[in-house]
């Protein structure tokens, strides 16, 4: 199952856990299953139920996805919430 790395500023929602293994085939499923375990996470990382929150990006196995919540999550992948970046 995917392993989600929890940003330190959100760890009070996960009882201090910095990594959580959670099921899900898409990013949306992973986040919803995470939120079922640790209520409040989804509100922090999802904007109005349709996109990753502004200012955040999600890296899956080292690649920042541009497919949003529909991104397929391979089994045993690493999911990271990182700050989003815009170039010049």
């Amino acid at each position: 199952m995917p392993e989600v790395w929890i940003p330190s500023l959100m760890r009070k929602l996960t009882d201090g856990q910095d990594k959580v293994v959670v099921s899900g085939n898409t990013l949306r499923e992973v986040i919803e299953n995470l939120d079922a375990q640790f209520p409040g996470i989804k509100d922090r990382v999802v904007y109005e139920d349709y996109r990753i929150a502004p200012g955040l990006a999600v890296a899956i196995d080292g690649v920042v996805t541009e497919e949003g919540l529909r991104t397929q999550i391979p089994p045993d992948s690493e999911v990271h919430f990182v700050t989003s970046i815009a170039g010049g």
Binding site: P7, V82, T83, G88
Partner: protein
């Protein structure tokens, strides 16, 4: 949609990619026939100018435009009241970033407050620009001047004047109870930072300051807009993304995107500063009021006062290493000024600053802080030059304390494929080691630098590059040539680098392809030319478009020979029957037979590639310091950069040299100088000191190629990373020359001289 892991084809015998042909826009550029915004003149066109705030922070009590409107030749005046109050808390997705629509509207024309000197307050359209400027003096604005805040750390204090009375701090989704100038705070944590410093034998900690600086593009912002009688709005402008201008203007004016057509003109530089729409919505309002096309061109002073420079910053870096030369801990706080509206590039600085290294224990805090300066915009590797200046200075000092060669220290701690980045994810195939090795073995590094007050510095840098969406469409002519339309504003010659990727697929010369940049009605959505994405992502679209053409043409060959499509193969611009070697036809000859085999062939493709390859660079800089004046001369500069695959090497070298040149200006001279009233005191290029050719040596550009697994030809973005390492390399060179660690940019003559005098007892007699 799944994320592909490997798209690289591993081609070793390129025919077009990697060559140095004549560029498609060369004739127009060298003969002066390329059309820029100032060249555009339409019948019955009006000219407009903008009234700007004389105050750094003030509430607008009233605006009286009646005298201006009465001036002969004036056709219309607009203020913030002409903007529809729409979408109070909506977000606009501009491709690379998401912004509040409310802020976008407020930034175009003030409604209630002005937030920096130069803030747009009103605009006048008149029969000529002189009348428009004269009318500005007749607009009466009553201000209530408010306390302002310029220093980014002062702005963070609880008792600082609030730039926005309703702004709370967003800490990765959690809002603060109190209002604050701190728009957001984030933290990156890896390992155990206390353990990391406990394991360290050598620790260096320093604080750094950098000033706000401007991109310095030569062509000022300009826009010409016609709001036609049928309510179709046509915009001709100089911007890094036509679709971005369309979307911003639609959001600001509250009209559908289908009502707007944006025609991109040639662009005289952008570097991230030409993504926001400053003039287009104002010109549109004036055109709607008058029924005439309206042209606006910023003055240089307006460009400096009121567009989007990049953030100044305060950065603290503390790093630890073991006696055997291993980095084990890095802690940093980054405080970036966003200017009037949130959105500084502090996140990019934080994520990229430690990317060249493997460090097991990391703690990084970043703060995005608003203040009474112009709203910051992207600038070539946004936020990362500031952060690299800090980190690479500390890394240099650690190497010195450990008695290790600075490049060997970087090599022994280098990130590589499979190592974990400081911000969490594991690296794909990357090229930092290769860049460092190229630098070590270079003639520059192997040649001793001798002489008093001379020194050499090195530094590394990283930029993640962007992906985004791109479109391409192409039609095959009956003479075998191809008209290619793509959506990326051409900066740095991307038309040619995109066309070359199409030519490589089809086995034809890039000169057989005529590439052009389409307007927003004639090509599919394409993101901005920014984030070093165009040759990568629009190149991907051209590659796919060429595949589409190839498959259609193979079908035509099958029709021509009355055989199965499966029986047709294609190689190097020749179609052949697999079963009958006597049947073959060239691409050109088959193009002449399209009418008789089904009609024209058009290819089309869109791309949203996810396999973005980050890029590394290493700089070596030699300097000579004049202890009498504090002036620093650049004696020699070299840059080593991983391009993945250089599609058109001269463009890559040009980007590398340009990035270094801008970084040297940032390092030595460029800064926004505000007085205590918040007035910008150097808003001309006479006083805002950019480097000229007299300040720079020939910059040696060394292309390193470690293919990006996420692109068929291995392309990585190249435009941004070369600006990242040189500021630190200059600082490290100054230290090597005169033994002073300078931690404030720019390292201008007064600062160098002051530090020199402090070191040598006040009179500099060393």
């Amino acid at each position: 949609m799944a994320i592909p892991q490997e798209d690289y084809l591993g081609i070793t015998d390129y025919k077009v990619v990697g060559t140095r042909p004549v560029r498609h826009d060369g004739a127009d550029k060298v003969t002066g026939r390329a059309i820029y915004g100032t060249d555009l003149n339409l019948p019955d066109m009006l000219h407009a100018s903008v009234l700007r705030s004389p105050h750094a922070h003030a509430r607008i009590k009233s605006i009286d435009t009646s005298k201006a409107e009465a001036l002969e030749g004036v056709r219309a005046v607009v203020t913030g009241q002409d903007l529809a109050l729409n979408a109070e808390e909506q977000l606009a997705d501009l491709g690379e970033e998401v912004v509040r629509v409310k802020d976008m509207c407020a930034a175009v024309l003030a409604r209630e407050k002005v937030l920096y000197q130069g803030y747009p307050v009103a605009a006048v359209a008149a029969t000529n620009v002189h009348i428009a400027e004269e009318a500005l003096d007749l607009i009466e604005v009553e201000y209530e001047v408010l306390p302002h805040v310029l220093d980014v750390r002062e702005a963070m204090k609880d008792d600082a004047p609030l730039v926005h009375e309703d702004q709370r701090t967003n800490s990765m989704g959690e809002r603060s109870e109190n209002f604050s100038n701190v728009a957001s705070h984030f933290r990156t944590e890896l390992g155990d930072i206390e353990q990391g410093f406990a394991e360290s034998d050598v620790v260096v900690e320093r604080e750094f300051l950098t000033d706000m600086v401007h991109q310095g593009y030569i062509e000022p912002q300009n826009a010409t807009v016609l709001w036609n009688a049928d309510d179709v709005v046509t915009i001709w402008c100089s911007n890094q993304g036509a679709f971005g201008v369309r979307d911003q203007t639609a959001r600001i004016l509250g009209i559908p995107v289908s009502q707007i057509k944006v025609v991109p003109l040639e662009i005289g530089g952008g570097f991230g500063g030409k993504i926001k729409a400053y003039l287009e919505p104002i010109a549109a309002l004036l055109s709607r009021k008058t029924g005439h096309p309206v042209k606006m061109i910023m003055t240089r002073t307006e460009v400096l006062q009121a567009t989007g420079p990049t953030s100044g910053s305060w950065i603290r870096v503390k790093m630890g290493a073991t006696n055997d030369g291993k980095l084990v801990a890095a802690e940093s706080e980054l405080v970036y000024e966003a200017g009037a509206f949130s959105g500084s590039p502090v996140g990019a600085g934080a994520r990229n600053m430690l990317a060249p290294y493997v460090i097991p224990h990391v703690l990084v805090d970043g703060y995005d802080v608003v203040n009474n300066k112009p709203s910051s915009s992207a600038y070539r590797a946004p936020g990362t030059t500031n952060a690299a200046f800090a980190v690479e200075t500390v890394v240099d000092e650690l190497a010195e304390k450990l008695g290790v060669d600075p490049l060997e220290f970087r090599l022994s701690n280098s990130a590589k494929e499979g190592t974990r980045r400081a911000d969490g994810p594991v690296n794909k195939r990357i090229g930092h080691e290769e860049c460092v090795r190229a630098a070590v073995s270079s003639d520059h590094y192997q040649t001793a630098l001798n002489g008093k007050y001379r020194g050499r510095g090195v530094a590394s840098g990283f930029w993640g590059n962007g992906g985004g969406v791109s479109s391409a469409a192409a039609s095959v002519n009956d003479d075998g040539t191809i008209n290619l339309v793509e959506g990326s504003t051409d900066i740095g010659g991307t038309r040619t680098s995109v066309a070359m990727q199409m030519a490589e697929v089809l086995g034809i010369s890039e000169q057989q392809i005529r590439p052009q940049v389409g307007d927003t009605d004639s090509i599919g959505y394409t993101g901005v030319t920014g984030g070093s994405r165009t040759t990568f992502a629009t190149g991907w679209a051209a590659y796919k478009c060429a595949q589409d053409i190839k498959e259609q043409m193979m079908a035509r060959a099958a029709i021509l020979w009355e055989i199965s499509e499966d029986d047709v193969e294609f190689d190097q611009a020749v179609f052949r029957s697999k079963s009958d070697p006597s049947k073959s036809i060239t691409f050109k000859d088959l193009a002449a037979k399209l009418d008789s085999t089904g009609g024209p062939v058009m290819g089309r493709a869109t791309a949203k590639p996810t396999g973005v390859g980050g890029a590394y660079a290493v700089a070596i800089v030699d300097v000579e310091v004049d202890p009498d004046t504090g002036k620093v001369d650049i004696l020699r500069a070299s840059i080593f950069q991983d391009a993945g695959k250089a599609i058109y090497p001269p463009y890559v070298e040009g980007q590398m040299q340009g990035g270094v040149a801008q970084a040297i200006g940032w390092a030595l001279n460029e800064e926004y100088v505000y007085d205590e009233d918040g007035i910008l005191r150097n808003s001309s290029l006479l006083d805002y000191r950019m480097p000229t050719c007299l300040d720079l040596p020939m910059i040696d550009a060394h292309i390193v190629e470690v293919p990006n697994p996420g692109h068929p030809y291995g392309v990585r973005g190249v435009g941004e990373v070369p600006i990242v390492p040189p500021t630190a390399a200059v600082a490290n060179a100054i230290y090597d020359a005169i033994g002073l660690r300078l931690t404030e940019l720019p390292m201008s003559p007064p600062r160098v001289l002051s530090a020199w005098w402090d070191k040598n007892g006040g009179n500099g007699s060393a």
